[in-house]
Symmetry: C2
Subunit: 194 residues, 2 copies
């Protein structure tokens, strides 16, 4: 096999990410995935109980690398506004450079798969969130520098526009250049700052 060091299950996960992002979950037959990953159909079922489990496994992989990208050289000592704008900018940059990841996550979170996961997450977390820098940021409003809003509204005011903008960018309705990214991050900040 010419596959350099990648385990078979990683090969399947990467092919699945690509296929799901391009065709959507329900237009991605396992047979086609097997072709793309260059494995037998049966092998997929050796590593993943069923298609659902595979979808969840892809989401874990994608979320992990997204969190890593955000955490990379993140500076917690910066003042709030800069920290926020840096996070948002980094998020937009990462997602616009990883269209497959973005398309997958969009689909995942607006499907029963992601909705269930979100539910579970919110039930399990108290004040401290594990490994989500942006949500952490909203919790730390000690300086009173942001409006007093429910957490959900902070989240909506940032992830909402970003998700719309990226969708438009991938459909070719906007060019996401440095300037537009900066404008977006600033508009998000204006929306939530005190």
């Amino acid at each position: 096999m010419s596959d350099t060091g990648k385990s078979k299950s990683d090969t399947i996960l990467l092919a699945a990410l690509k296929l799901f992002a391009e065709n959507g979950f329900h237009c991605s037959p396992i047979s086609q995935l097997a072709d793309l990953a260059k494995v037998g159909v049966g092998s997929i079922y050796r590593y993943f109980k069923d298609k659902d489990e595979l979808i969840h496994a892809v989401s874990e992989m994608v979320e992990k690398s997204l969190q890593e990208a955000l955490a990379d050289s993140f500076d917690p000592s910066l003042p709030s506004q800069q920290r926020f704008i840096q996070l948002i900018t980094r998020l937009i940059n990462y997602l616009s450079r990883h269209p497959q990841e973005f398309k997958f996550l969009e689909q995942y979170y607006s499907s029963p798969y992601g909705a269930d996961k979100k539910h579970a997450k919110f039930l399990s977390e108290g004040a401290t969130n594990q490994s989500n820098l942006i949500v952490d940021f909203f919790f730390s409003n000690q300086e009173g520098i942001m409006k007093e809003l429910p957490l959900q509204l902070y989240v909506a005011m940032t992830f909402g526009p970003i998700s719309f903008l990226l969708r438009d960018s991938f459909s070719g309705f906007v060019i996401l250049d440095e300037k537009l990214i900066q404008q977006t991050a600033e508009a998000c900040w204006d929306a939530i700052k005190a």
Copy 2:
């Protein structure tokens, strides 16, 4: 038939809206739709060429009533900020009271169906948009009261948060009361005002 005055095709459209909103397009078999609408499978194909055409027809119906709700007692003589906040408030109110319509539209616009439509719409329109009060609003920035941003970013900064917030509200993560709606509308305005 006990159906009071509703044409058969309207009966089908309403049942389709309900089913699509609850189960998603691809988990809504035509046979189930026929049961729900109390109609034979064949009759559905009498009025709609195929499932795709039916989905588009539902979207036209939903968009029409949404535009009507927005236009209702809209006052173009109000100053920009109030006009904007009124529009946003009205939109959130309408959608939160019409969960099926919201769920349908969300799904529609993040599927190939809606993406195609959006493309067609943008290609066909120049400066004046037909029948969308909110997009019209963004075009009329003559007073210089808003930041100078690309149209797409205005759209993203308003529809994005609204769509996130409504999704959370229907999943039970937030209670969408008057206050929250007001806060949202104001945050959207802060994001785009000069």
